[in-house]
């Protein structure tokens, strides 16, 4: 356990805490956001982007290297959006759902893990999409 690990642990825990307190682990809140019945979480997310943009501008104005829009971005985002809308999970949310006691989130996580492992094989064999440094 180095200082780096400790920093990641604190920031990661604060992130999980925030995701939970905003309500992203709640499927009802998520569906209400995506169907614009309730704009609270939408504003939290968009507001977060705005606050971060301002923060970067003030604290770390140097721009990172630009990544090109490779051919996997649009189809990948379509699959991700559809999967998120039906399962209520992104790569972080099922962890937070599990933390709130929702046991079936383990199955969502198993799906995410399977998808990622499958994608690596699929990409190596058939797709050959080079995401470059765009692997966040």
């Amino acid at each position: 356990m180095t200082a780096l690990h400790a920093k990641v642990a604190v920031l990661g825990a604060l992130f999980g805490f925030t995701v939970s307190m905003v309500g992203f682990a709640d499927f009802g809140e998520l569906n209400a956001m995506f169907t614009f019945q309730d704009t609270r979480m939408l504003l939290a997310f968009a507001g977060g982007v705005a606050v971060a943009a301002l923060g970067f501008l003030l604290l770390d104005p140097k721009r990172p290297t630009r990544t090109r829009i490779h051919k996997g971005v649009v189809p990948g985002a379509v699959l991700f959006g559809a999967g998120w809308a039906v399962s209520g999970g992104c790569p972080a949310i099922p962890l937070v759902q599990l933390g709130a006691g929702y046991l079936p989130a383990i199955v969502t996580l198993a799906g995410v893990a399977s998808g990622m492992v499958a994608y690596r094989h699929l990409n190596a064999r058939y797709l050959h999409i080079d995401a470059g440094s765009c692997s966040i």
Binding site: T18, N31, R40, A50, A85, S114, S133, C134, I136
Partner: protein, 211 residues
Amino acid sequence: MSAEYWPWWLGALAFGALVVAFPLLVGRRLGVSGAWERVLHWKTEREAERADAVLDDMSAFEAALAAETAAAFGAADNEAPGAVATVAAPATPSPEGAPAEVQRRMPLTTQLVLIVSIFAGGLIAALVSGRFEWHTDMGDAFRSIVTGGPLMWVVLFGGGVLVGIGTRMAGGCSSGHGLSGCSRGEPVSLVATAVFFGTAVAVSFLVWKVI
């Protein structure tokens, strides 16, 4: 129920602060799908990490060797009298400061720490807000909007697979593209976020109204 959740501005402040603090303190942008990807491929990532370490050692050795050579024999193509000082500068390879922190891969173990700590943060939030409760389903909303039967397991797993494939194909998820990338004004992240959000809106309406 909804009233118990944070107001939008508190969420925005917390998300914004964390997205900025993460790269400043840790040296890499916050992105959860990338962390998963690396932890899931632990064995190959571990090997790559060892190879990188060897390469780092070698380039450090070469740099030291070059500096020593310059010190002992003087720089070949340098007419300035302060040869040693000027040669010493390129010997320490600082890649123009900027992209290094983004490109540089985090130690693999920190990625595992990130995943575990997100779970821990969620657990703490649920406990302090009194929302923690064991469920063998995904809650009332999921039951009424999607399904309550055994189909739930199929939807969760299948949706998870789409998330897994999609985030890696797009090179990021709601944290990496949506929060980190968009706040940096990166075109690739803006496109990815617009597309995954738009798709999620369309599919959510479909699930809510039709199914």
